[in-house]
Homo-oligomer: 250 residues x 2
DNA sequence: TCAAAAGTGTTTGGATTACACCCATGG
DNA sequence: CCATGGGTGTAATCCAAACACTTTTGA
C-alpha cells in the first residue's frame, strides 16, 4: 500500500437488491428481466452500479429500491446481506456486488417497476428450483437472502415488515408459516407474540369478520429483538460435515 | 445499465481484516501501525487493496491474513463481516472495503507481522475506548466484529477456534467468559458442552495437573451449530428505540 | 343453531439455573 | 491430610408444546 493511490486497480461496484415479500401464501422475490447481454432475457435481481463517487452504499440501495418499486421508503426494512466477488461472476469484467435484502409488505402496485425493465414477483421456491436459471450468481444470492429472512424471524420482530400497517395475530402467524414453510400452533403463537413486551401494540380496533370471531388489530411495537427467540419447529440443521475456513454464511 | 461497461465508474476496493484472539484473559484484535498518510502513525486494521482482477474476495482475505500473521491457514475461521462504503471514509479517494473477521488461537508468534508494518495485539476494550483513535472508520468495524463474535458463540461451536488443538472444558469456558465479559457457572457449562452431541470429542488424554484434579482433553467435534443455543446470561438488550431502515447490523 | 375463527386455560416435558456434593491430584 | 480445581447429582424454575375449551361473529 503505497502513497500513489492511482496505481490501485479499480473495480466496477454494483449494488443489488433481494426484495422479499409475502404474497399469496408464498415468500416471493422481486426479479427483473435483463434487456442486455450478458444473460439477456434472463431473470436477475434488480440493481445497478454505484451512481457516483459520493454515493453511500446504503443510499445506493435505497435509491435502487425506490426506482424499482416506487415504494414508500418508510414502510420497509433494508439491510446489507453481504458482498459477492467471485472473479468470474460477470463475463464482461470484474464486478463486485454488495447485496441488500429488503422486507416489504404486499404492495398495492407490485409489478410496476419504475425502470424500463419488467419487474415481477417470483416465489422463491420457483426461483431456487433446479430448472430455473438466473443471471450471474443471483441464485446463490437468493438462497442466502432466504436463509437470512428465515433466521431473522427467529430473533427479531421483523415479521411485521411484511404486514400492512395494521394487522391481526393471524396475519403475523401466516407470515411466519409462509417464510418458514412450517405450520405453527395458532394458540401458542398468539400467547407468544402478545406476551412479548413491545412486539405488538393493540389499536383497539377489530378486523372486519371473515365468518368467525373478529380479531384484534395491532401495529408493530417498539421491540426489535425477541428474548427468548421464536425457534423454528424442525430446526434439525445441526451437525453439518465440518466448518470450513471462509464459510459462506454471515 | 448499458452495454458499454467502460463508462461504469470504477472504485478502489479494499479487503480489511478483523483478526480476533483470546489472549491474557482478554479479547484482542490485531492492529497495524500505518506508515503512510492518511492516518500515518495511527493504528488500523490490517488489509490491502484487491490484488488483481482475478482474485476472489475470500481468497484476498486469506492472502492478507497469511501475510499479516504467517498463520497456519487450517487453524482458523474466517468469514465475511460486511462491506463499508461511506463516501468520505477515505480522504484520498472513494474506497469501499469488504471486511472479514477471523478467529485464531493464541499464537506462538503473535506480534510478528509478515509485512513491514508493525502488528500488535490490542485488547478490544482498549481499541474501542473513547480516547483511542483508529484510522478511517475502523473503530466502528471493530465494534461490529466484536458484536459478531459475541453472537457467534451463542449459536455456533466456533469458540473452539480460539483454543489450541487440544483443550479442556475450562479452557473453552474461559473463551466464553472472556468474549462475553460474563462469568459462567463452571458446572452447568461443563454439562452443556459435554452434553451437546458433536461439540467436543474426548482425546482420552488428561491435562497435566495444575494442582487439582486433571481435566480431560478434547478436540473440536463435527457440530457447527448449537441447538439449543448457549445464551448470554444478561441478554437484556431488548426494546431499542425503533428499528430504522438500513440497519447497521447484519 | 351451527360453522368458523379468535382467544384462554391447563398439563406436561425439556432445558436452564443454583446449588450441594464427590473425585483426583499436588504438595 | 488438605488445598485446588474437575466433574456429577438434584431440586426449583422457566418456557414451550400439545390440546381442551370458551368467546364472538356470519350465515
Amino acid at each position: 500500500m503505497t502513497d500513489s493511490t492511482w496505481q490501485i486497480p479499480r473495480i466496477a461496484l454494483a449494488v443489488d437488491l433481494a426484495v422479499l415479500t409475502v404474497r399469496n401464501n408464498a415468500l416471493q422475490i422481486l426479479l427483473v428481466e435483463r434487456g442486455v447481454d450478458p444473460w439477456r432475457g434472463q431473470r436477475a435481481l434488480p440493481g445497478g452500479f454505484l451512481a457516483n463517487d459520493q454515493e453511500d452504499l446504503d443510499a445506493a440501495a435505497e435509491r435502487e429500491l425506490a426506482e424499482e418499486t416506487g415504494l414508500d421508503i418508510s414502510r420497509l426494512y433494508l439491510e446489507q446481506l453481504r458482498a459477492y466477488g467471485a472473479p468470474d461472476r460477470d463475463p464482461r469484467s470484474r464486478v463486485v456486488t454488495v447485496c441488500y435484502v429488503a422486507f416489504v409488505p404486499d404492495l398495492p402496485t407490485p409489478e410496476a417497476g419504475g425502470d424500463a425493465q419488467t419487474a415481477a414477483w417470483v416465489p422463491v421456491q420457483a426461483a431456487l428450483d433446479h430448472d430455473t436459471r438466473l443471471a450471474f450468481d443471483h441464485k446463490r444470492i437468493v438462497a442466502d437472502a432466504v436463509e437470512r429472512v428465515r433466521s431473522k424471524l427467529e430473533y427479531t420482530t421483523l415479521a411485521t415488515s411484511f404486514c400492512p400497517p395494521e394487522f391481526t395475530v393471524t396475519d403475523l402467524r401466516q407470515v411466519y408459516e409462509t417464510v418458514w414453510g412450517e405450520t405453527l400452533d395458532q394458540r401458542n403463537f398468539h400467547r407468544k407474540v402478545t406476551g412479548t413486551a413491545g412486539f405488538l401494540v393493540a389499536t383497539g380496533e377489530q378486523a372486519t369478520g371473515q365468518g368467525g370471531r373478529p380479531a384484534a388489530l395491532y401495529r408493530p411495537g417498539p421491540a426489535t429483538t425477541l428474548h427468548p427467540a421464536m425457534l423454528r419447529p424442525t430446526t434439525s440443521a445441526n451437525n453439518q460435515p465440518r466448518r470450513i475456513p471462509c464459510a459462506v454464511d454471515a
